[in-house]
Symmetry: D2
Subunit: 401 residues, 4 copies
């Protein structure tokens, strides 16, 4: 049943699905259960409260939907908007592109603000559009917090400031798929109306749970949203929330226990420590890339992503060959360059339940691969740069002091 | 993390989610993997071929969608139909009711043929509608193969015969959630256009995979179907099938390996033997119910379901109390009566990876519960009736002879 | 990797190894760890304290030895006795026979008191030997608390009374392999000097941990015991207990976590409730046997075992055929008759983490098998008798009320 | 239940217990089974044949004993020797010391040949002893193939040559605990009479199975060996081998399936490739140590161990602090210096199912730790040296080309 055995652990550094901690694998190692027994609703009730913490919201209402990030997108859009609604969306990479494609196919009137791949969302254009839109024709701003294809993090606080500055009532919808639980994210403080993520990203679970959180304003919007929806309809959830049975259809028992286990680990570490760890690993990665003499696909430091680094290879190297070789020789899984940056970048995902020595093994591997494909890297250089930073910053493990 | 510990195994006899075999739990006990590596597409390719066998189709195209049965319904409808299309649907219990509700909310023009709960689909009314519909305004016949709420199995072969007799081109859409892999189901032979099931039913997996299979005619229908769809759009899958990467968005690695494992078990046992085992267990259950002096909710033998038995309790008993007591005293999970039959029936699910002695433990438990709630059952009577049948019919285990 | 697949769960009713609860399987589903890190000693320290509770001792010192029951026997004997020492031992079945064989091969002077298989230890003969032994040549009394081959439980309290009555200083060594954690066992109250069990019995773990508990008097005896021992030497453990590192050689990390998990379950249920559950299941089994018109191998009620029932088949039936058929047709694992009772009895093990409905499934299976092999059992009769008792005595599950 | 949580994977680099591959963890994730059913003997039969391959023997007889390496030692000695027998044993480190201690406590007349810790067995002294022993008073040569405390591998081929040269009939007993399945080991070719290992070493299983293999000459020796033994007596095994039931007492079902899984992985990789991988990882480690400017505890290249490297720290560093810090800050488990080399060396275990990037993560960690404890290492230097070697030598993964 394993189609491609290689000795030792697989080094999983794609930006999702990510490594599942042993504790979580264990928690999910179980038979099915009757989800209508009193046990599952009792568990769900606490989970819904706890899940709000990772969004940093107290006002929001979470939905745990048996779907992927793509489904979570659809859920966010169809519950709050009507066909024909004007929405502003930023095209900055493959995942924002796919979301925009979905928005268009769902019949919204998408006002696309495009940037070069490697740049963040152009918020100046947003500002001008908001300024011009005194009639409030813009119904929603849709933005990917972290574009996984290019390793670009957008500044959500600024989006909120602009909306406030122009006193614009547009809904603020955020794809937090590769950010929530890894990057600083503050749903309430930033006035995000819908935020969403997928279980297989920073939550370090298997794929299969789309986690969507809606502000009171977003819930209000459902009342007038005319988009056709059934499977993704929040109202079905809300109805069962009120009944205290919580589930309009069968949830994955295993993912519920997995979510419980992963939240327990996150809370034990402390969410802010989790975020700091992501920053530490990302910074170490960027220092390594610099030491290798390679460029980060992300064009400005303000957009640097702490969950994924897209590394630009020299023109004479095919980045797909880097990824292929990583897998064929080193049991290392790296992210491909997608669409416009196919062949030009490879990606190192450094999100989820991960530590420094795992990352350093990956970086050492990348050095050898770069040499394999003909790039004259100085072996050890990236690891040295990363270590110099990490040795100064890694905290002691609290449970072990 | 276990909210309600009780010694020994839980006896899981709800009609889904069902028991997962140890072999399958084991196969899913794993870390995430990069789904873009060559390994996962190679595995998927074989899975898609193998999955067709459980539908008994060679012409169909399967889709493994990260969703539940409710999502699979939506996928079947939106890919083949347009808002306003007239569809004929049968209301015979809670799950057909929910599907009809979805059909209406998806803006189809639903022509509902209602039966008493406990009866099968009224195919005579269907015949007359087909006869009358010379203009072919009916675009689809939607039918639940096995109504899980009442334990009623509809006769699909007859539906096909009627369509053929009237040379009616309507699509034939089948909810096979509690039938496929457990009841006799023949997609190609019966000319089913879309058939679907969920992973947590007879496939004995966790919830999270909607398995939909489309006939060539159904695929053709996608070209004109105007229902808005993105997450559930088959075309996105077909595009990636052609590319050989297979996945438009991230699948659950664990469910893929689980599906592989469960199909291996099904093929080792033999699909027809699996179906025969379901019949054996169901017949034993019905004999026990009869011996207890209770009635089957299913009104005629032709509709008897081999995956779930809904048992009617006497008027002075609340069937919810039967279910509650099963869980609180015997670590037994039974199915509640739903909606119209709430309080009136409890349900014994006997589908999935299950054997005779498991069922007999359940039946013995039900006898004690019936006594608990004041019904004067003769203890041992149901088990005796079931054993008398089973002792004559259980085959030897081939691998052990 | 599964050599003999059969659908559904295996019904494991041999008297060891027994069913492992899912919670415990989960806890052991883990990688190795460095047993010299601070974590494992910290865990071990608590385990050693907790393990004393299942022996009902505060004065005893437990040893968790990577071995089986046979090794635990050897550990008990060689640490407390010297070659040539006279010991009194009771031959009442296969396991007492094997222990006596070991005692003889370890060069002790074994004074065997034999009973018919199916009878308990002859304590009258013991009394006369103790009375006669004014010179205190008897160094130890070795007794199997529960003879697993015949389902006979000996009266340990009486042994203690006799020793006290005759003021005899002999050590009191008890094989509690199929009793501890299932039958009433009181190490301190009964003045047991060494008690032992194996992980795969009532503790419901995998095989591999011999659990031995020594009284202060037994520890004192080690100082003069001249039996050669190294691997089984308690002194090596005691040395490492003092150092706080606990392990003279590598323990199984998985079994330590498994022990933690299984003790947690036992303590949650309550040890006395666990014992009461074993009595309930055993009594139900005996009522079934009676209803079938068969005899219990155990000749008097005072010796009835609450962990295993050996059922005598009629002369025209081969009990091995019962066991074979159970496995080949019903996926049921029963215990063979051993040695003197081979072919004459089959055994139903009802110990460990087990509940009533599991047992009833087994009993229903046995009825069908009896019919298969030509015994004219009335189907349902045993189950009915068991249910009549159980329906009156099963308590509500505390966590679910 | 986890006493010291830290994010990400634990980096397990003690020389045992070692990392268990996911495939093997999965295979052991299972309930108990009746070991007397036909399935377990069928499985055991094949296992015993397959286990001979890792010893490179066709003439040997293997025993899978529920014990640890210490028990396997005892099994080797007591089955072949009698108290008072003269045996030659080499004291070169902590584990040879412990074995000698056992030999003495088992009442053998141990003729110890001592070397400095860090040196191999002094075979010249052996030669002179053999030369002098024309009366053949030496009954056995006991040698640790790989001394885990100092990372010293002894030359077994030379031992055999000496025995042959002097035509000496002494038994040749080998502790292969940290060698078999990792170092080149040839039982038949080298005329080894008893070889043994433990499951938690290169076999990458949990602790709990002592694997002992006896030559025909060793089996012959059992007939005259007067050492008292019961639990460890090979004759009990041989008796059950003949019966075809294989087990004199209960085996661990989980370890049997684990052994099956790990052997499958070893055979898929190819035993010689496994050995080559160990050499590759070890060489890389030694190059790193050299680049750090530190000394290998092993004094000559001929003794370099391919399974563990003992690194000598400068006098002003406490090697225990290195190990403590590794665990407290980096989630890295290193081996302590033991006994004579306590505080002076730390050990990197590089055996079992392990790959290059895992090792490089460890080496990067060690560099940071060395800096932490005040040793002026050049960060990246060791990794660079290791990578330079590895990048030239790592083969492609056969299943992925």
């Amino acid at each position: 049943m394993d189609y491609s055995y290689a000795p030792g652990r697989n080094h999983l550094f794609v930006p999702g699905p990510v490594n599942i901690p042993e504790q979580v694998i264990r928690a999910m190692n179980r038979n099915n259960e009757d989800y209508r027994s009193p046990a599952i609703p009792a568990m769900t009730k606490i989970l819904l409260e706890d899940v709000k913490k990772i969004f940093k919201t107290t006002a929001g209402t979470p939905f745990l939907i048996p779907t992927t990030g793509t489904g979570a997108w659809e859920s966010a859009l169809t519950n709050t908007l009507s066909p024909g609604d004007r929405i502003v969306s930023f095209l900055i990479g493959q995942f924002s592109l796919l979301w925009i494609d979905q928005q268009q196919r769902l019949k919204f009137n998408v006002d696309v603000i495009e940037s070069d791949w490697g740049q963040g969302a152009n918020l100046e254009v947003l500002a001008s559009k908001l300024a011009a839109d005194t009639a409030h024709t813009i119904k929603a701003i849709c933005i990917v917090h972290n574009e996984t294809a290019t390793g670009v993090t957008n500044n959500l606080a600024t989006v909120r400031k602009l909306l406030d500055y122009y006193q614009h009532p547009a809904l603020f919808l955020v794809d937090g798929v590769s950010s929530i639980c890894a990057l600083d994210f503050r749903m309430d403080e930033w006035g995000v109306d819908v935020a969403l993520t997928g279980s297989q990203k920073a939550l370090s679970l298997p794929t299969g749970m789309g986690i969507v959180c809606a502000s009171p304003k977003a819930l209000e919007a459902t009342k007038t949203a005319k988009s056709v929806r059934v499977f993704f309809d929040w109202n079905d959830y809300l109805k069962f929330y009120k009944l205290g049975t919580f589930w309009p259809y069968t949830p994955s028992i295993q993912l519920l226990y997995g979510l419980r286990a992963t939240l327990d680990l996150i809370f034990e570490e402390g969410l802010d420590n989790v975020i700091a760890r992501h920053h530490r690993l990302a910074k170490a990665t960027r220092l390594a890339v610099e030491a290798w003499g390679l460029k980060n696909c992300t064009q400005k430091e303000e957009w640097f992503s702490d969950t994924v680094t897209a590394v630009v290879v020299p023109p004479y190297v095919d980045s797909s060959e880097v990824v292929r070789r990583a897998w064929q020789r080193y049991n290392l899984s790296l992210g491909l360059g997608l669409n416009k940056v196919a062949g030009k970048v490879f990606r190192i995902g450094h999100l989820g339940n991960l530590n420094e020595l795992q990352l350093l093994g990956c970086l050492a591997g990348v050095e050898m691969i770069l040499k394999d494909v003909g790039y004259p890297v100085k072996l050890g250089s990236g690891v040295a740069a990363a270590c110099a930073f990490l040795q100064n910053t890694i905290p002691m493990i609290p449970s072990r002091i």
